[in-house]
Symmetry: C2
Subunit: 518 residues, 2 copies
Amino acid sequence: MHRPRWGDPARTTELPGAAATLAGESAPHHGVDPDTITLPGPAMSDAVRARLAAIVGAENLTDADTARVQHTRGFSMPDLLRLRAGNAVDAPDLVVYPGDHDEVVEILAACARLNVAVVPFTGGTSVVGGLAPDATGHDGVVSLDLRRLDRIEEIDEISRLATLQAGLRGTAAETLLRERGWTLGHFPQSYEGAGIGGYAATRSAGQSSAGYGRFDEMVEGLVLATPRGTVELGTAPRSAAGPDLRQLILGSEGVFGVITSVRVRIRPAPAGRVFDGWRFASFEQGATALRRLAQDGPLPTVIRLSDEVETAINLADPDQLGGESSGCLVIAGYEGEADEVRRRRDAASAVLTDAGGTALGTEPGEAWRTGRFAGPYLRDPLLDAGVLVETLETVTLWSKLHGLRAAVTEAITGSLTASGTPPLVMCHVSHVYESGASLYFTVVAPFGTDPLADWGAAKTAANNAIRAAGASITHHHGIGRDHRDAYHDEIGPLALEALRAVKAHLDPDGVCNPGILI
Amino acid sequence: MHRPRWGDPARTTELPGAAATLAGESAPHHGVDPDTITLPGPAMSDAVRARLAAIVGAENLTDADTARVQHTRGFSMPDLLRLRAGNAVDAPDLVVYPGDHDEVVEILAACARLNVAVVPFTGGTSVVGGLAPDATGHDGVVSLDLRRLDRIEEIDEISRLATLQAGLRGTAAETLLRERGWTLGHFPQSYEGAGIGGYAATRSAGQSSAGYGRFDEMVEGLVLATPRGTVELGTAPRSAAGPDLRQLILGSEGVFGVITSVRVRIRPAPAGRVFDGWRFASFEQGATALRRLAQDGPLPTVIRLSDEVETAINLADPDQLGGESSGCLVIAGYEGEADEVRRRRDAASAVLTDAGGTALGTEPGEAWRTGRFAGPYLRDPLLDAGVLVETLETVTLWSKLHGLRAAVTEAITGSLTASGTPPLVMCHVSHVYESGASLYFTVVAPFGTDPLADWGAAKTAANNAIRAAGASITHHHGIGRDHRDAYHDEIGPLALEALRAVKAHLDPDGVCNPGILI
């Protein structure tokens, strides 16, 4: 991956005709080659560099411009637009590659003494500003790239647990586990870029969450490096030994320290799979069907519902764009032993039929499955063509789902229309629980005169609508800097101060990802 | 319930012949009538009483000896032995009955200013010293009895959530929910005594945890009263909005404040049920069968495995006591719609058979189900007869289960044998997870010359064995004061200090259940 462009360069995608029509008359906006960006000299002193080199070895740190640019910010649309414009002012001063947990602890302790901010880096795929700390008052920023912590430390086949180092990419972890007959079952949209430590630090949720659970539900143990030493948690799957402190570290986004390994639940690699498509007349009808599966079962491994607009786009029929409803597409996928796949598929299909669904066969299901990691590849050609494209997501109770969807859609549409660039707003449900579900919005609009400002206003309107509806500001993207205000509103001042008290204890000098989350 | 004796006085149990043989020649040890205990005058000043009366009304607080004794300590064997001996030195000085959340906040704020320790009280059934704070340096102790917070505030039938006030007894909550067609499905051994707030504050787990989950898994939202105000958490079932702070409050045992209500998952009241008994040749064989159900399914609603000794006792055949193995009893119970019960029972029975089990039909299952809350009633007649009886529990990974069971059994047996009172140690598995399971030990021995000291030594030996095996010090009893040292060892010094930092923030004067947990 060579930012700002997503994924494997060999898989660069052409803009499909349907999407190209959105671009209108806009001129191309390809942006600068990131390798040509020249950064101001690193703010880091030679003394700091020497101190860190003494820990990791001189060959495991660099202040080369290319490396610094490649560790700059994440993959939100504002991040992409800024880097395309040659703006890399948030580049770290130094990139450091520790070799093990103890080196991470040493680096954090050294940076605390040296007043240097530290940003943990695994895949660098944050879409919420999680990699752009507020380093005001610090003597430089280190990007702590964990790529050398890339081993499976242990597999306990009896207990079905694997201990994974934080720098393992999701794809590499899955490959190594499959070689032993296991799967993690975690496939977020960022799968081709993200890493294990990032999954844990941001409470990632994958497309197969109905079958395998969210990443925070898979983690049974973790090791955290802090400037003051090591915290190791998780003696058993569940316990009544006080608060579940694992849940205090999961989602902490690097502000308490750096997660260096996690012990996660694994499952036998599935022998079979079937992915079906279903059509529902309306989003409401489809949501009721998903709710029945979530509450009374059986849950497929993957279950998703696209609204009318997203369904029309997915069907790639330009005539449908903005037109009348062609219904709502549901994807229901089943993985496991052949018998179990058959049983669950039969039972779930009976529920979906009873709830008003029409079976579309496996073709739409397989099309979704095989294309499911292609979405991020579309962003670059859309931006090249002058089309603003961004996603945001939330989660709420079933009883509040439709009100929330309407409020967020209206907020985004109203804001971008006021900016003179009326958007297309699509929505899907991709994660279901007994009591509620996620909503994931995709927004597409032609560039106006100031796409960054236009999107900033729309995002603020969406955040306000989410909080006004009593929903959570994020289901799986995390907080970073972009959701910080809404997050503080969500948890309230006393809880926020409690988190700050924890940080003041584990990171008294405030060098761990400052300005993120809290 | 009239402590120290358990439960409904009308259901007082005679000691069965098998158990009575344990008592040997010991003289009766009935203990004093708690109503005859005269306490030293309350340490609380009139000014404090007047201040709290101004909040709750004079009719909602008392310093009568009977009320104070009834709020003294919990139901561990040491607690019972001390109260039977007329020792109520840990009695609170005042019992206060707030009427709503705001009154709880006011009481906590007032007690913080007045330097008065506060012990939250719902059922008072702690078996780990959770109700006996260390009030050194405080100007008295208030027992904050939440019994007036006894309503279901809201039922969201679409999202299947109910908001329950903390003072509701488990039995009352279940009755109110059943009237509306719902169940909580939470049936701990303390069911006849415990309350909702206690379930949450101690991470209770019920006998149907395989089907309905642990209490901490049911809670989706909660309201905490602290001396500094209110913390309200839980906007959605799951979220990536930072650490899951609900999990910081669950299990906090009153040291951050008082949980006044929880929003919990509810399920349709089951239409049908079947409980089967199964026999396995050995504990190891039975555990493997349970592991297969936990990992590959289907999970029954209730699944338990007794070891050879407990099985022999359960079969109530005195000839078996201490004799050769009669095998190990498994209880597998299924609840739900009739079709679903049949399907899960058929599939689970096939697994149990394949794993070497012999079906015993529904008689042992029904016997367990109908007698399942009778256990605690046996403690009083056993103590009356001079028989030491206590339980303890832990949880670990499947790969460590048998080593842990052997180590704990040996530790207890060795310690009590050295004290001259060789015990009978029984064990069962009653909660299973994909990666591990709980172990629950019941210890019975004749009184020696100092039962409190003998048990104290045995308990320390058991705690050390649990920690040496890397297991958690408690699966569902909690920490209180009795597990504090082992708990601190389990989470390590940095995590402990982080918890203390949270407490220092929410309860800066340290009046909330001091000496408990941290």
